[in-house]
Each structure stands twice: as structure tokens, then as C-alpha cells.
Amino acid sequence: MNAFLTTNAELIITLVKIALLLVIVLTVNAYLTWFERKVVAHMQSRWGPHRVGPHGLLQPLADGVKFLFKEDPTPAGVDKFVYYLAPMLALALALTSIALIPFGPDPIKLFGHDIYLGIAPPDVNIGILALFAITAMGVYGVALAGWSSNSKYPLLGGLRSSAQMISYELAMTMSVVGVLLMAGSFNLKKIIEAQAHHPECGIVGWNIWPQLLGFFCFFVSAVAETNRVPFDLPEAESELVAGFHTEYASFKFAMFFIAEYTSMITVSCLCTIMFFGGWLSPFPASWTFTHYVPSAILIPFGLWVIWDGIRYETIFGRIFLPGAGTAFAGIGAVLILLPSVNLFIQGPFWLLSKILVFLFIYVWMRGTLPRFRYDQLMAFGWKLLLPLSIVNVIATSFIILAKMTWWAK
């Protein structure tokens, strides 16, 4: 048994990591729906979910149970094989792309093995290309769902989404070329490390400043790729009932839903890694007191949750919320007491907080922006984003060339 463990250590570690990440991503997805409903509700002066559990925190669980136990009818006249394949394809591809994201700079040393955060080893040379390859395949989930349903609204949704995703994929791929030129690598880890030219530069060294145009093009086209508001024409409910997933019910619908939220997380990860320094702290490296930022956020947050919890209406809430608050504050206190752990979580902490900001922007846009008209969508992609991103590529290459020929001498 021991011999088996040592010879296959890499395989076992990877399998455990996959299982862990799957659980984490699916949980985050579930709470992302809660977060979205809550934020959009407050933007519209409503309460959002608040019946199931304290502050509606058990709502995602209830939704999950509902999806699992609903009747799952297969409409007559569908192409059965493709109809079942489409949601699986959508979900599998969305989850695969998360596997390529590195979540922290340093490995954990456990049983003599370096365990990196993130499933893929950190030296994947074609990291960003592989991500784009998976995104490129993502179109099929939506397109095939629309076609195989054998119904007019899903077909229209599927056609729209194929056209939209082909159009915006071009702008998305072109807009990151500037970043790749500056880093000189497709490797996600090297792209992050290239943004820390000097340990003291902090936020100034991030790619967002020289690549502002590239970031604009990338973020807009990435939102379009994930079919989110204001680019949610494939599922425009006022025109197409529910677009490509009209004929899907129960857990097959949930699979599309989870796929959409997972790709939101992937896009947020990519924005963070390519333009906002990934796991780099926004402060200069010599400001060691900024290492207490995680504690300085977690402890007050935990105390606030306790204070909010003891006055909560239901008894369950009065037990659950102070408990959760104590856990948050406790983690914050432990981080102060264990400097080595605190140092280790700096990278993941900054990465995750930046990802959270992008997820909030996604929800924010959904709460504020109206949907594009179809011709506006096409004109925006082809006549504005694509030329802008090409201009960005040309300008970046000329500046890099100028640096190489004149300033280096």
C-alpha cells in the first residue's frame, strides 16, 4: 500500500486537488447566485432572498435540492444524443478552464511533496493559449443546446450565441497580445511575475496602466463571451423566452447555470492575472505591515457578523451568525499569531479579493445596464473592439521595439 502511495503520489495529489477544487468551485458558484440576487435586490431597493436561513444564506442549498428533485421531461422530437451532450459539454469545459488557473505563488510542503495551489503545474508553457482553446470550444455547449431542442426560440438563441461568441473571441484574443508581448510568455505565472519588475513598485507595476485599452477590450469581450448582461442576447427572456435553454429543465438547466457562473469566475481570474498583478500585493514589498491586511479585514468583519447575529429575528440565525462571525474573527486572530501562515496566504488573499471585485462588477453591470440590440452588438464587436485591440497591439509592439533599440543602449 505504501509503495503504491509513493509511486503514484503525483496522481493521487492531483486527484485530491481536483475533488477539492470541484467542491470549492461548486460551493462558490452556489453562493455567487445568492450574492448576485442579494446585490441586485439592494440596487433595486428590495431585500432579496431572506426567508431560507439567516439572510437567505441557505437559499442556494434549497435551490440545489429543487433542481435535483424537479421532473426532468425530454421534449418530443429532440435529437437525444446532442440534447444530453450539450449541458455536459458546457459544464465540463467551464470547469476544465478553472484547472489551469494558478491560485498562489508558493507550494505547500506536505509529506515531502511541493503542492501548488491550482491543479495544473505552474510551468504550463501555453497556459493562456490553452485557456483560449477551452473557451473556443465553449460555444458548442450553447449552440448545440439551441439546435438539438428542435424548437424555434432555442434555435434563435443558439444562432445568436454562435455569432456573438465568434465575433467577440477575435477581439478577446487580440486584446491580450499586448500583455503577452510585455511578459514574453504564455505562462500565467510568468505573466504575473513580469508585473513585479521591482519589489517596491506594487500597484504601479501592474499591466493595467500600460494596457488600459487592452483591458477595456478584454473585459468587454470576455463579458460577451460569458453571455452575461448586457450581452445576454442568447437568452434574452423578453424576446426568446429563455433562449438556448428554453427546453431544458431540472438539473440539465442547472448545469448550464453552473457553467455560466464558472466562466464568470474564470474571466475574473484572467482579468486579475493578466491586468491586475494576480497574487501580487498592491503595496511595496518593504511595507511588511500590510501583511496584516487580511486580519484587519477578517476580524472587524467577524465582529460585525456577531453583532448583527445576536439581534437576528430567528433563533437559528441567533446561533448560526455569531458562530460564523467567531470563525471569521478567529481565523483573523490565528493569522496574526502565526506569521509563517500569514505570509503564505498573502498571495491567495490578494488574488481572491481581486477576483471578488470583478465578480461584483459582473453583478453591478447586471443591475444597471440594459441589453444591447443585436445590430449594436455586432457593430460594437467588429467596428470598435477589434480595431481598438489591433491598435493596442501595434502601439505596444512599437513601444517595446523603441525600448529595445534606443533606451537599452
Partner: protein
């Protein structure tokens, strides 16, 4: 049996099954899906040879862009089930001859390059004299050694794009 060899056989089997199913499927969409399986299996084979850039581009360009266009057009035209006609006499005898010739050519190529295939399988990488496995090598070849043929090809593609635009807009004039 080593792991790379096992992966090779799985991918090769996928490619062959996909290719056969591409011909045998009755519905155009099913054929297109089979072709996508072939493309992805090929990308996996490139990856096995250490040609990571070619593998990624294979999926992005062929699996992503081109096949999406295929599927899009089939969906847009709502193409129905393929009608099978009896095979013409022209396709019978000369077709068989062509198949035999092609199989012979492939076999001859494999026999002649056995040594380099074996060395590739042992090192997991293309021999360095080729220098095409790494991204840097590919860009060096395209933009230094073969820059004029490359630019000519892009010019040709530009002409094709312009021609397609003109043909598509002809009705307006």
C-alpha cells in the same frame, strides 16, 4: 506499457473512430461533431510530441473557429438528413485503387521515418534540428526564415476575404 504510449493509443483510437463516424453518420451535425473529435484527438497527439503551440492552435483555429462556422451554417440552413445515392461506377474501381495507393504511401513514410519516430517517443520531444516544437522556434521560422512566403500567404487570404465580401454584396448593386 508506458503512460505516453497508452495515451497515444487512446487518442489514435479516438481519431480513427471519429473519422469513421464522420463518414457513417446520417445527420450533418453528427458528422460535424465527429470531425471535432478528430481535431481534438489530433491536438492531443501534437501535445504528446511536445508541440504544445501547434496543439493549442489546432484546437483554437480548427476545433473552435472553423468547426463553429460549420455547425453555425448547418444550423442556419437547418440541413436535414443526408440523402444516400447509389455509389457511382466512377467512384468504385478508381476509388479502391486510390485507397490502396494512399495506404501504401502512408506505410512507406512510416517505415522510412521509424528512427525519428522512435527517438521522439523516447525523448517526448521533436528532434531539436527541426526546432518547430517550441513557440519561439515557430515564430523564428515564420518571421525570419520564411517571412516572404508567409506574407504572400496572408496576402492571398486577404484577397480571398475581399472576394467573399464582394460576392456576398453583389445583389445590392
Amino acid at each position: 506499457m508506458t503512460a505516453p504510449l497508452l495515451v497515444f493509443f487512446v487518442l489514435a483510437a479516438l481519431a480513427v473512430i471519429g473519422a469513421v463516424s464522420l463518414i457513417l453518420q446520417k445527420h450533418p451535425i453528427h458528422s460535424a461533431l465527429s470531425l471535432i473529435v478528430v481535431m481534438i484527438a489530433l491536438a492531443g497527439l501534437y501535445l504528446l510530441l511536445g508541440a504544445e503551440f501547434v496543439a493549442a492552435v489546432q484546437i483554437i483555429v480548427y476545433g473552435g473557429a472553423i468547426m463553429v462556422l460549420f455547425v453555425f451554417v448547418i444550423m442556419l440552413l437547418n440541413a436535414g438528413v443526408e440523402e444516400h445515392t447509389s455509389i457511382s461506377k466512377m467512384a468504385g474501381a478508381p476509388g479502391l485503387l486510390l485507397v490502396v495507393a494512399l495506404a501504401g504511401l502512408v506505410a512507406a513514410t512510416i517505415v522510412r521515418s521509424t528512427d525519428s519516430i522512435l527517438s521522439t517517443m523516447q525523448t517526448g520531444e521533436m528532434s531539436s534540428s527541426l526546432g518547430v516544437s517550441k513557440t519561439l522556434g515557430i515564430s523564428g521560422m515564420i518571421f525570419k526564415d520564411f517571412v516572404y512566403p508567409f506574407e504572400l500567404t496572408s496576402f492571398l487570404i486577404l484577397i480571398a476575404v475581399l472576394g467573399a465580401t464582394v460576392l456576398a454584396q453583389r445583389e445590392k448593386h
